[in-house]
């Protein structure tokens, strides 16, 4: 298809987007092969190979490239394992967000009238709910778990793609080809998913990297505030430990590493998102 090849071309031409793609691919590689790449188990209490004592708060050295935590755990191994939860939450939640957003936008824009009014007022209400307070409140009522976290992100963040896609669909249904399809007796479902969906796909694609970024950020924030999944090592959870134990006063390595990992992956998806923008709205091309 011409759109998909032009998307690929656009991504490769944009140097920042290329950087983003490489970083995301690298993190996927790290996440998949975490057990092979990590020098230690992320939760293992380690001994310093020279002194034989527990390796508590060791600065980066050849034994521990990213240093160790106050529990004598290897920071590098934790960062490596943390990429799993970040990518899992990021991409699963992004799928939920864009799936709900695209369908709500499509239905609201296509049917118009009271269907549109009701759906868009729900979007307005969703916009009034502050994310982090809502997430920690719900997680406190349920229990810390990444499944719940993905659901909460999905439940709230679809508001942004829904609003934009609906606006796009509103202008698309006025096009001659939609009227032609109607005249030939195409069903509503067929018009929506066969004729309109391919035309809103570029905008849908725009929201995938964006929602990956939101979801990773959301997971990091919720974990930092102490409501992360206790069974898994996450970057936000690492920062929470460094902060709550007061170890950040000395252990800069423990604070720096997970934060840089978060910034790298989130800025990468934003770079990819920026490269999609000219594809989604051709009027700002060549800016």
């Amino acid at each position: 298809m011409s759109t998909s090849s032009s998307i690929v071309r656009e991504l490769l031409r944009d140097r920042l987007a290329l950087f983003g793609l490489v970083v995301v691919a690298l993190f996927f590689f790290v996440a998949i092969f975490a057990p092979a790449l990590a020098p230690h188990d992320p939760m293992e209490v380690l001994k310093h190979p020279e002194t034989g004592k527990a390796a508590i708060l060791q600065p980066p050295s050849r034994y521990f490239p990213f240093g160790t935590t106050n529990m004598a755990r290897d920071v590098l191994s934790q960062v490596i394992y943390g990429s799993r939860i970040a990518l899992l939450v990021g991409f699963t939640a992004a799928f939920v967000v864009t799936f709900i957003g695209a369908n709500v936008g499509l239905i609201a824009g296509f049917y118009g009238g009271w269907v549109d009014t009701i759906l868009m007022r729900i979007v307005d209400i969703a916009y009034a709910i502050p994310f982090v307070p809502f997430a920690i409140l719900l997680i406190a009522l349920l229990r810390p778990s990444i499944v719940y976290l993905i659901m909460i992100v999905g439940l709230l963040m679809w508001r942004a793609p829904a609003r934009v896609i609906r606006a796009q669909v509103l202008s698309l249904v006025q096009r001659p080809y939609v009227k032609a399809a109607r005249v030939t007796g195409a069903s509503n479902l067929r018009i929506m998913y066969v004729h309109l969906m391919p035309n809103i796909l570029p905008i849908v694609l725009l929201y995938i990297p964006l929602s990956v970024g939101w979801a990773i950020m959301a997971e990091a924030s919720v974990s930092f505030l102490g409501f992360g999944d206790p069974r898994m090592v996450s970057w936000g959870g690492m920062l929470q430990s460094a902060f709550a134990t007061g170890a950040m006063r000395v252990a800069w390595w423990w604070t720096l590493a997970p934060g840089i990992a978060i910034v790298l992956i989130v800025i990468s998806v934003y770079f990819i998102n920026r490269a999609f923008e000219p594809i989604a709205s051709p009027s700002i091309r060549k800016e």
């Binding site: 307005d124 009034a128 505030l225 800069w252 604070t255 800025i267």
Partner: protein
């Protein structure tokens, strides 16, 4: 009803409706979740007489629909129950910390907007050049970095290492204020305000920068800009007088929504800087299962977001003569 007044009325009614939906949502959430619903209003450490009194006051001994009416009635009176921890009324507890959140949100918002509009105009003028790419990358960096992480880094450098700024709280231990405005209008408070403001400001700066830059790029394509160029006006005059003035509207109207989001988004920064605000209150409350405070703080934040978005819509309709109200 048509015209601006009709629009105003409809928008205010919808704002109230939004708040009602959120209030109801919170009621439902606290009751559909598993467990004894009374644990959310009555702490097990309360003595039986107090327990009975609160159960009765919030109608937790009555059917659900009556509980709902009592809940709404109490909220209208500003009664959100008592904190499990301090045993003080929730309204009093939150009222005490609300100014801290608002001050922090407003100062960081102003920092972000002043810096953002200037930087956005600069980037638009330099579009496609290295300054533009560098500026966008920097702005995106601060958008991608968790605020609590930037906060920790600044604390490590400027507080622990250099000792220039306090590591948290809103005033030094032992600092005595005479109350009233003097609580905030003093150098000690200002000194505590700087680091959290910078962190929040850097995070918030992305929107005004990108909005100003992109709107300005659109505006610069207009015919009157072409005309100004043809007249031989200097580039700076065109950019500021013809460009920025016409590009400023969406930037200004986005501001109200943004203040709302800033107020609601301070939780992590407040936690890092031990800043006693509504965001910190909700985090501490949820951690200690102090449900009345958690619920009250959440409602307070949601209401502020709704009110600011209402203000934004009204301002937009008022300021933009091209918009129709129907």
């Amino acid at each position: 009803m048509k015209g601006y007044r009709g629009f105003l009325l409809r928008r205010v009614l919808f704002g109230l409706f939004t708040i009602w939906v959120i209030i109801t949502l919170v009621f439902v959430l606290f009751r559909v979740t598993p467990g004894d619903p009374t644990v959310f209003m009555v702490d097990s450490t309360f003595d039986p007489a107090v327990r009975e009194e609160i159960l009765h006051k919030f109608g937790l001994d009555k059917p659900l629909w009556q509980q709902y009416l009592i809940y709404i009635g109490n909220l209208l009176k500003g009664d959100m129950g008592r904190s499990f921890v301090s045993h003080r009324p929730v309204a009093e507890e939150l009222g005490g910390v609300l100014p801290n959140t608002i001050i922090l949100a407003f100062t960081s918002f102003i920092l972000a907007y002043v810096l953002g509009v200037l930087l956005g105009a600069f980037l638009a003028a330099k579009r496609g050049q290295w300054q533009d790419s560098l500026g966008i990358s920097l702005v995106l960096f601060f958008r991608s970095a968790p605020t609590f992480w930037i906060g920790m880094i600044l604390l490590m450098i400027f507080s622990f290492k250099l000792g220039w700024f306090p590591s948290g709280r809103i005033r030094s231990l032992g600092y005595v204020t005479t109350g009233g405005l003097d609580k905030y209008l003093n150098l000690d408070f200002l000194h505590h305000l700087i680091l959290p403001t910078v962190v929040a400001g850097l995070y918030l700066v992305a929107l005004p920068v990108m909005l100003t830059r992109n709107t300005l790029l659109e505006v610069l394509k207009e015919d009157y800009i072409e005309l100004a160029r043809a007249k031989g006006l200097p580039g700076r005059t065109i950019l500021l007088k013809h460009g920025v003035r016409n590009a400023i509207l969406p930037v200004v109207t986005a501001a109200a929504v943004y203040i709302g989001l800033a107020i609601a988004g301070m939780a992590e920064i407040e936690v890092v800087f031990s800043w006693p605000g509504v965001g910190q209150a909700i985090v501490l409350a949820v951690r200690s299962h102090d449900y009345p405070v958690a619920q009250g703080a959440f409602l307070l934040l949601a209401i502020m977001v709704s009110v600011m978005s209402l203000v934004a819509d009204l301002a937009y309709a008022y300021l933009d003569p091209r918009i129709s109200y129907d």
